[in-house]
């Protein structure tokens, strides 16, 4: 078996929060003991609600943030502590697409420069050669050469996301990190982009780290899913298994909260409505972070965070249910 493309081990990211000039700083642990891996050409979705740390995981993998603990191996290199020139050299392998295509593109640049900039910066192509490459890239994402001299504001949200994707794949990355990349789009446009991502994966063999809160989208696009809650992965596994037989009570509640677009099914199915809100990451509960809302909570859950153990039909879960 080949080595994974990306291996994240025991990742921890903390932020310092100062709540007033003279008050002491507090530590917010946004990501805690997170481990996962992605094979070449594979799509791993990290799902979770606000405050789950899923976007922080994406930013740490992109090395837009410095992890406070743990390692991130990309293609054999530990990038968790890389800086400067070394980090710049691995950048072509690792690219990102953000949620908001209105703020992620420089409004003062024409599309040829938006998409061609990575090629220039990394010395891949210049001049006419660069323009030829940009034209190919635009065609690959369903746009044309006649778009090259236009500005971002002349494009719709879906078209802008295509431009952001063209820029991200310009250096032929091995891993593309997509942080809520289709969340701001209307359904019909969203599906056009998801189909484009599927095509690119097939043609170019890119692996995706797909960060999303939308379980419908994730079920469709991901090979594997990691479910996060308050900075921890509580369950991970092949998409079909996780959606059909969720092993963690949080996953079960999350899936049951997504309304099914069919009134007969939606109104007759059993739903689990969780009480309360996600606790503040500044004061996370002891033990399993989900124990304050869990319908199956036991005494042991308040003590230690349960370890990950494997689940029949693939993946792993961090839950004491069925163990004690």
């Amino acid at each position: 078996m080949t080595a994974p493309l990306l291996t994240v081990t025991d990742l921890e990211v903390t932020f310092k929060i100062r709540r007033g000039l003279l008050r002491p700083t507090r530590k917010l642990r946004a990501v805690n003991g997170v481990s996962f891996h992605i094979e070449p050409g594979e799509t791993l979705a990290v799902v979770g609600e606000s405050g789950s740390g899923k976007s922080t995981v994406a930013r740490a993998v992109m090395r837009l943030l410095e992890p406070s603990r743990g390692s991130i191996h990309l293609d054999g290199d530990d990038i968790s502590a890389m800086k400067g020139e070394a980090l710049r050299r691995i950048r072509p392998k690792l690219q990102m697409v953000f949620q908001d295509p209105y703020s992620s593109l420089d409004p003062s640049m024409i599309i040829a420069d938006v998409v061609g900039e990575p090629l220039t910066v990394h010395g891949v192509a210049t001049g006419a050669e660069r323009d030829r490459r940009v034209q190919d890239l635009l065609e690959q994402v369903g746009l044309g050469r006649y778009h090259m001299n236009r500005y971002p504001h002349e494009f719709s949200g879906g078209q802008r996301q295509r431009i952001a994707i063209a820029r991200a794949i310009a250096l032929e990355p091995k891993l593309l990190v997509l942080d809520e990349a289709v969340s701001a789009l209307d359904v019909s446009t969203q599906n056009q982009i998801l189909n484009l991502l599927e095509d690119l994966r097939r043609e170019l063999g890119i692996a995706y780290l797909f960060i999303s809160h939308d379980l419908g989208v994730v079920e469709h696009i991901a090979d594997r899913v990691a479910v996060t809650y308050l900075g921890r992965i509580v369950e991970e596994g092949p998409t079909e298994r996780v959606f059909a037989k969720p092993a963690h009570p949080y996953t079960e509640a999350l899936l049951s909260a997504v309304p099914v677009p069919n009134p007969r099914i939606q109104r007759s199915r059993q739903r689990i409505v969780l009480p309360g809100d996600v606790p503040s990451p500044l004061a996370p509960p002891s033990g399993c972070p989900f124990h304050t809302r869990c319908p199956h909570v036991m005494d042991v859950c308040r003590g230690e965070m349960p370890s990950h153990e494997s689940v029949a039909d693939g993946g792993s879960v961090a839950c004491y249910l069925g163990r004690v």
Partner: protein, 330 residues
Amino acid sequence: MSAPLLEVEDLAVEFLTDHGWVRVVDGVSFSVGAGETLGLVGESGSGKTVTSLSVMQLIPRPPGRIAGGSIRFEGRELLGLSDQELEALRGEAIAMVFQESMTSLNPAFTIGDQIGEVVRRHRGVSRREARVRALEVLELVQIPDPEARIDAYPHEFSGGMRQRAAIAMALACDPKLLIADEPTTALDVTVQAQVLDLLRSLQQRLGMGILFVTHNLGVVADLCDRVTVMYAGRMVETANVFDLFESPQHPYTEGLLQAMPQLGERGKRLAAIPGTPPMPWQMPDGCRFHPRCPYAEAACAEQDVKLDDLGEGRSTRCRRHAELKLEGAE
């Protein structure tokens, strides 16, 4: 049968743009009965929010204007009422909840003061009585420990709690009609489930009518009794929720349903409606959906399509609906 709570008839709304006066809502008609939830569904730019804001005449004027039609609440015409008469209705008989509860609550006042102000303004009661009412409605929307929370500021609440507080404020004067514009869109799904449950149980207890504006067909399937689908400023289909999902009568509705990723098979391409909606100053001739419609024929581009009444509260704006067999949600 008594008259519906809200009747909107042939509503037209225009905005002044670089392209002149542009009609963004055109010929929209619907009604909401007491105890009923009507879903107003569409993608961005379909005119659903402008329609809902027009009911309370909250569109900015200028650049907007209501160019025609009629909006009747309990039989009384709202268009042409004075600002003072409208003020008396807003927050009293007709209340609104928006997507961004952080922007609809004032950050400088406590939750209790803001709810209390609505009550004092419309009911003319004392501060103390208003506070009692604020406490009641906070309890009604299941804010935990309301005695302690009533003196909190909006920023001290989580997103879900703020939306509950906004709903509490809307309910403070026992409105007959609640207009809710994407009230769960900014919320996490587990919190969305709580808020939908809350709206359902409140409606059962209070019997209010709800106009629910959303782009999310899952939420529609969960909550709405009837649905009006909008596209490019026009209504394209109205039906009861079960009929709409089972046998849509407009190709756009079919397209929206088929585009739900949950309904797509893994590994297969997702259904997508090709292209993008038209800009309001470049509306295509004929059926406005024809450039994106898989069933369009030459005639669809030529003649204007009227809304066709199919009986039993169903209508569609498609000239081919009788011959097409459109697919619903399975």
